[in-house]
Symmetry: C2
Subunit: 480 residues, 2 copies
């Protein structure tokens, strides 16, 4: 089934976009030309960049006009233009619905990338995807699964539901925290189906409808999604500004703060020891601070993470989330939460309503990989390091005007374009068969319009090709 | 860490019980003796039976008195008695908190059973658990994983996130529906992390806060949990009463109906063809009817399921949920939803916020098992059939006064005790080192107090031992 076939003449909307959400999505949409053309172009770019999903019902012309402070004539003309371009359909009684023009999507149903909003399929088997921070599997994975399979028979006579996680894996995770200097017992570990489930569980546990939750801006987009699903009002604070976090906690009465302390996605930043101490003091105000350590192992320059996020392990309001996805492989769906034994028990009950338990074999494989991490990780890190260096060199050479950071770890380059062209560039890149993620995808308020996230997870030849394509797209956006 | 160690002198409550919920939980608690003793006993039984989780804050004495229509002296005395028995602690300012007495839980942290509310640990390695409907793994599982591991390398160069499920598995599931006479294309299948996630996704998709949702009563308890988590007001209708479902849909304006059409959990009942047709007509009223086919393969007497729940596959409001848990093993966490391609896409986006994707290797193993189901299932079914026959014979012989059904498939015997003693018997069984699930665990309103669910998933010698223990418990409850 192609995406085009799911967008019939009278497309049926599967989601709605409010006028307020449209305003956020559009960001700084106005340009030099007629407003209706700029507005149509902003919406078209959003569809192409994936931030506006096909089969979304757009706000009414009247509502959008009100929210944007333009006349209804402008929104009406903009929707007409969108229809003309094939990016919308209208039908009496069902409003205007965003669609992809026929021919824009030709291949199989798209697999929305993880870590980003769904993007339209590139419709080209030679297309390059630099929007996903998903490395291929470690070479050690196959062996780990093989050994896991040898250990599996001990579990086959049982029902197979390990709601807290199997003992050997919980013990291995606890041992890893202890090795990092954080006293941790096995009963402080809850195994989850990936870090995403850990975040969803914490959101469901700590967030009541309408509660404020603080996140860094930019941040991991699906954490924001999980928090919003739990009813949170998500407030962004600038990355690395612990003082701003503190004052936002006081101002908003936030119940939860979600942070990525090590090799932050997407900026690559690592918190200093002082910042961690300052955050540790915040918990005295009753706020729970969650540190997502999914990227902690990806210390490409061996800078050493200053201190484990959980501090000395004594503060029950400092909660750690971890994952095997980046260290070993995303297709292994194993994550964990380090918290108090009481919360482990409580969340184990909640997780029964989500997916009952994490597969046993996956857990055995991750226990094996954790036991061998010192032999497994160096090869992987060397590989990612050389890809990062290559991508950075290519980007610096091809885009001298861009602001290009030098992250010591992680998977992404968060580049500054020097102008609010992230969405437009991502849209233009689609025409070059390249998928990149524009800045607003990573911010709760759709800011960072001048940013782009590039990942270095693909092989060197693909990275080189991708930067070529990005260069052609940039030339078009920059009007050269 | 033992459970006892998590119940300190001044236990900190991790959940609260409202007075209304306490009333439902207690059911018909009043007996011949003093009210306060009966009330204390009802609460103690609830803790022992697991329907009242340790570390739950009980309602205030005043609130509970109001809800039960008794004096505050009665509730106050009942709480005092509970404390005396070691089943509650009180502390100024933090109310009364249910706990397990020290010594009630001696072994490792309990693994709450799936399919039931969490139960206290039996504290005895020789204890028998008949509360879980979780058979051991099929003998074919190890080979399926081995072949899956051979197929895995094709996936290792990618990021490993298959949000819709991997193509071979989706195709195999679609083929199975076609083989059962339901036209189904691959794009109608969403792979989920078990049927539980499928139910949670459907709840999140169809249920808005406050919506009415209908379920059979009794039914699968974690379906009720997932629906309530999504904000549903869950209304029970008697199993097998399609007319009652129809009138409840009209009366409540329910958005969703959740049913177990084949070898229903816990009653074992299978809907007739006529009932399915009648349900099919209900969808014209705009309600979506979900059929959970987790147990469909467990046709122990080869009676033949009358018609697939999805009817002829043409009604988009008839949604099927399936799973590998009962057919092959619960430790394989793979389930699916059969619905429209549009809803598959929409729910694939939602599930990214739950756990991103289902592990690839698990999916390959299930695809292998589905391809071999005709050689794999007969052995498994023969095994389960002989266990069912044994359990039924043992129960009939030991408890001549009970109502013992003769279910043609599934995993459970839903026995009638002839008096409202389900909770008391389950509590007494704990003292005999036996865990069984009392009727109220399976009903949204805590009814079925005269019922017990026994599962036949354990080996024959364990079943015999379990019925002995149950007999001793029954003798005590029946006062002999």
């Amino acid at each position: 089934m192609t995406l085009a076939a799911t967008a019939p003449v009278h497309a049926v909307a599967v989601r709605h976009l409010s006028a307020a959400a449209a305003t956020r999505l559009l960001g700084a949409w106005q340009g030099a030309g007629p407003a209706y053309l700029a507005l149509a172009d902003g919406l078209r770019s959003a569809v192409l960049a994936g931030s506006l999903t096909p089969l979304t019902r757009l706000p009414s012309e009247r509502d959008l006009a009100g929210a944007l402070g333009v006349s209804r004539t402008t929104t009406s003309a903009a929707y007409a233009r969108l229809r003309e371009l094939g990016f919308a359909t209208s039908h009496v009684g069902s409003g205007t619905v965003a669609v992809l023009p026929r021919g824009q999507a030709r291949s199989a149903a798209p697999q929305p990338p993880a870590g980003d909003a769904p993007l339209p399929d590139l419709g080209d088997e030679h297309a390059v995807d630099m929007s996903q921070a998903t490395p291929s599997a470690t070479d050690a994975l196959h062996g780990a699964y093989a050994r896991a399979l040898e250990a599996l028979p001990a579990y086959l006579s049982g029902g197979g539901y390990a709601h807290l996680g199997i003992e050997p894996l919980r013990a291995a995770i606890a041992a890893r925290y202890r090795a990092r200097g954080v006293p941790t017992t096995t009963d402080q570990i809850l195994v989850t189906t990936g870090a995403q489930q850990a975040i969803a569980l914490l959101a469901g546990t700590f967030v009541a409808r309408g509660d404020r939750v603080l996140v860094e801006s930019p941040t991991y987009v699906h954490a924001v999604g999980a928090l919003r699903s739990a009813g949170a009002r998500v407030v962004g604070v600038p990355v690395g500004d612990v003082e701003a976090i503190g004052s936002a906690v006081r101002r908003t009465g936030a119940r939860l703060v979600y942070l990525i302390p090590d090799f932050h996605n997407p900026t690559g930043r690592t918190m200093t020891a002082d910042e961690r101490h300052a955050l540790g003091r915040l918990t005295a105000r009753g706020v729970t601070v969650v540190g997502d350590e999914t990227l902690t192992d990806l210390d490409l320059d061996d800078v050493g993470v200053p201190a484990p996020f959980a501090g000395d392990g004594s503060d029950p309001r400092l909660v750690s989330v971890g994952s095997a996805s980046k260290s070993f492989w995303g297709g292994l769906r194993v994550g964990w939460i380090r918290t108090t034994p009481q919360l482990v028990q409580r969340m184990a009950r909640t997780r029964q309503q989500l997916d009952v338990a994490t597969p046993v074999l996956e857990q055995l494989a991750v226990a094996d990989l954790l036991a061998r991490r010192d032999e497994v990780l160096p090869t992987r890190l060397a590989d990612l390091r050389s890809r990062r260096d290559l991508l950075r060199d290519l980007v610096l050479a091809r885009f001298p005007s861009w602001e290009v950071p030098d992250p010591p770890g992680g998977l992404c380059l968060w580049v500054g374009l020097g102008r609010p062209a992230g969405q437009a560039l991502a849209a233009a890149a689609v025409s070059e068969g390249l998928r990149v993620a524009p800045g607003p995808q990573f911010t709760p308020d759709g800011s960072s319009v001048d940013r782009l996230r590039l990942t270095w997870t693909r092989p060197p030849e693909v990275l080189a090709d991708a930067v070529d394509r990005l260069g052609r797209a940039w030339d078009r956006v920059a009007g050269r």
